[in-house]
């Protein structure tokens, strides 16, 4: 459950690598894993189905056959399709109306409409627009007060409705006020409502008809689950939405709702909300969102790089050894280090692995330490490399002198190597993910 998408996708990549060509069967398997990954990211099931269909159609077609590596192509297609579904490119806010341009905010309770209204006001104010905020949320206690305080904080004008309790009248009065005072933009914050609450949906329809907004923004919580499709459909049918704002993206939800809502409404995602600070409103980038939903870190480029630089023969030799349960010796250890360097060094590798970003790299776990390890191994005789057991005190002294290090460092390396050996045995059973965990203990300085 808590295992994230990165893990899954890493698994997908793994199962694809080393396979000569994509067959119908192994695409099915991979797509099944992508399907599960998307569902865990809260992408709505009907949307997942459409998506898988689209990917399948493309993956089984020409493009894969002409590609260099099937795995590369398939993951590439998953990513491309996801980006495409998310909207291709981000859409700007449309304010091309006779001032005041009215922006109407709509959404469920607690989706973040009021906070977003404030953020939007600041964004437009910074674009030298004269903005007026108005709240017609007469239901939630102190909702109007919340927007008033936000306006004060941001130094944006707030429309005082006095004792008026009719949302429609407040909106009209605000529009009238905005017109007379030459405001460029009027942002109308509404009460949160359930899509099945007919009275409330009628109210917002009436509001829309009265103020004729140029932008009607649907505010969606990034944590929303499968129901996002139903809610989006209902709001889209009730109101001519012009765009979507995805909020609370600073959390760790994968934000599958973004894909669902985009797919159902067909309306562009215009902004994302990150954090509670008034400045936390950013333009939406479909590509980044696609990566977030997939949680693939930079797997794509890792595949490319690994494909290009890893000595396949060398890797195969090692894999054979592991499989046969033969001893993993220092020669192999060195070969691994060299391969790692070909891929841009440890830090570059860690950056690219999804999930590895969370593993903090303390000082010392840098590429310099790796170089030193290689130096120590280079100071050993071939026999010592094959049979590290024979390395006793006097050999250690000689090796340390040869590598220009202290004896302790030789000891440290030998300890780490011993751990690595255990790791390799585990890898025979558990695979790469186990080894990655093991590597944390194996490399110098890493926790």
């Amino acid at each position: 459950m808590l295992e994230n998408l990165s893990g899954r996708l890493a698994g997908v990549v793994k199962s694809l690598r080393g396979q000569a060509r994509i067959t119908e069967a192994n695409v099915q398997d991979t797509l099944r894993q992508v399907r599960l990954a998307l569902l865990e990211a809260d992408v709505a099931l009907p949307v997942v189905k459409d998506f898988i269909e689209a990917v399948k159609t493309r993956a089984l077609g020409q493009e894969v056959l002409t590609s260099l590596s099937p795995g590369q192509a398939l993951i590439g297609i998953v990513h491309e399709e996801l980006t495409r579904l998310m909207g291709g490119e981000n859409a700007e806010l449309n304010l091309a109306a006779t001032p005041p341009a009215v922006i109407l905010m709509a959404g469920l309770q607690g989706s973040g409409k009021t906070t977003t209204s404030g953020k939007l006001a600041l964004l437009l104010k910074n674009r030298k627009k004269k903005v007026l905020l108005a709240s017609v949320d007469v239901y939630r206690p102190a909702a109007i007060d919340q927007l008033r305080q936000l306006g004060k904080q941001l130094d944006v004008a707030f429309f005082e409705a006095g004792d008026e309790r009719d949302p429609l009248k407040i909106a009209q009065a605000a529009q009238d006020h905005a017109r007379k005072q030459f405001y460029d933009v009027l942002i109308v914050d509404t009460a949160g409502r359930l899509a099945i609450d007919e009275a409330m949906m009628n109210e917002i329809k009436a509001l829309h008809a009265a103020v004729r907004p140029i932008e009607t923004l649907f505010v969606v919580d990034a944590m929303q689950g499968q129901d996002a499709v139903n809610v989006a459909k209902a709001f889209n049918e009730a109101l001519p939405l012009t765009g979507v704002v995805l909020t609370k993206l600073d959390g760790d939800a994968r934000g599958g709702a973004a894909l669902s809502v985009r797919h159902i409404t067909g309306k562009p995602l215009k902004f994302i909300g990150v954090g509670e600070k008034p400045t936390g409103l950013e333009a939406f980038h479909p590509e980044r969102m696609a990566q977030r939903i997939l949680g693939m870190g930079d797997v794509l480029s890792l595949i490319e790089q690994a494909q290009g630089s890893v000595d396949l023969a060398e890797a195969k030799k090692l894999a054979d050894k592991v499989k046969k349960g033969k001893d993993f010796d220092l020669e192999d250890f060195k070969a691994q280090i060299q391969q790692m360097r070909k891929m841009g060094g440890l830090s570059a590798l860690m950056d690219k692995l999804p999930g590895a970003g969370q593993m903090t790299m303390p000082a010392g776990a840098d590429d310099k330490a790796i170089n030193r390890v290689e130096g120590i191994i280079n100071s050993m005789t071939p026999l010592e490399r094959r049979k590290p057991d024979i390395i006793k005190a006097s050999r250690k002294r000689r090796i340390a002198a040869g590598a220009g290090v202290q004896v302790q460092e030789v000891n440290k390396l030998l300890n780490q190597f011993e751990q690595a050996q255990k790791m390799m045995k585990m890898m025979g059973k558990g695979g790469l993910s186990k080894m990655m965990r093991g590597m944390k203990g194996m490399l110098p300085g890493m926790r």
Binding site: D42, P141, D221, M223, D227, V231, K248, G251, G275
Partner: protein
């Protein structure tokens, strides 16, 4: 999407509306018609899930692979989550094999039972009488419905003859204090708040005030926060520490408020807040929408892997104060499945 809809057959089990709860720890619970209200609140959930299931388990239909796939679809779209869905289906499949079930309708009872079995560990009503004052601390992500829930809880405890005091611990969001104050005024409940200051201080003051006034229950609000905001998680830990300092052994209940609309992130939220605070109960809000609240099942399933399960203390099935209800696994499942 579901082309297999059939006209609703008579329900496999006779509908038993308004079955009073046998053990009624709370006086309001025995009030007639509350089960009815729960059903109304969950009507949309039932219409979707129950309606789909009624079609699935129709008379004469046999159990086959397709049926299981459709079942998977329904559970997934209810936010039950991939893992919990798989576990439920595995249970059902075993049962089908073991008991040689062939009729689709047999599967309905089996699924209900599997869901009840999964959810029963989460059923443990909250008793606020053992301590005085009983300190409840509420936490949750932004917009989950903490402040609204506090209002409802205040009303609930008041109706049980308990005196209640609210601590406006959300000192961050604009007008959160005012929101609670309005609630307090409407329901004649004292609200302790400060013009400025941090939430720990406000709550500390509130506890002192509660002791001086011989109050039964203190409800402490906190600002919404996402678990990724580590400094805010640190801050809420401090709030808990300060409460402990005010009254050793307090807070007596740490409630995590969850929005029923939340997808699989609900599981992450429970884990993160539990790790930070030791959550002792959950409140599931906004079940009156189209969201099905299946995330409860995902949470229950995830809790199997944790040392203890965290009970769902209340569910919110509507706007009014009376719509905040103790959680009952069987009733929840029945309300969802009985057409």
């Amino acid at each position: 999407m579901f082309s297999f809809f059939k006209p609703k057959p008579p329900a496999a089990e006779p509908a038993t509306p308004a079955t009073p709860v046998e053990s009624a720890p709370l006086p309001v619970e025995s009030r007639p018609g509350w089960a009815q209200r729960l059903k109304q609140g969950l009507a949309k959930t039932r219409d979707r899930l129950g309606g789909q299931l009624a079609g699935l388990f129709g008379v004469g239909r046999k159990i086959d692979a397709e049926l299981f796939e459709e079942l998977e679809t329904i559970l997934i779209t209810a936010d039950v989550g991939v893992d919990a869905t798989q576990a439920l289906l595995d249970t059902l499949q075993k049962k089908v094999r073991r008991e040689n079930l062939t009729e689709a309708s047999d599967l309905q009872a089996a699924l209900k039972q599997a869901l009840v079995d999964l959810l029963t560990p989460l059923q443990a009503p909250l008793d606020v009488t053992p301590h005085k004052p009983f300190i409840l601390m509420l936490a949750g992500v932004n917009g989950a419905g903490k402040t609204t829930t506090i209002g409802k809880l205040a009303k609930l405890y008041q109706s049980q003859g308990l005196s209640v005091l609210l601590a406006a611990g959300d000192t961050f969001r604009a007008a959160a204090r005012e929101q609670l104050q309005v609630w307090g005024e409407r329901n004649n409940v004292t609200v302790v708040s400060q013009e400025k200051g941090d939430s720990a201080a406000v709550i500390f003051d509130a506890i002192q005030a509660a002791r001086a006034r011989n109050i039964d229950v203190v409800l402490a609000d906190t600002a919404g926060r996402l678990p990724t905001q580590l400094h805010l998680m640190e801050e809420i830990r401090k709030v808990k520490r300060v409460i402990e300092k005010a009254i050793p052994g307090a807070p007596h209940e740490v409630l995590l408020v969850l929005d029923a609309n939340t997808g699989q992130n609900a599981v992450t939220q429970v884990k993160a807040f539990d790790d930070a605070l030791g959550v002792t109960g959950l409140v599931l809000t906004k079940l009156d929408g189209t969201a099905k609240g299946g995330a409860i099942a995902a949470i229950a399933h995830a809790c199997l892997a944790r040392p203890r399960s965290i009970p769902v203390r209340y569910i919110g099935v509507g706007e009014t104060v009376d719509d905040l209800r103790p959680f009952d696994a069987r009733e929840f499942v029945e309300a969802v499945f009985t057409a």
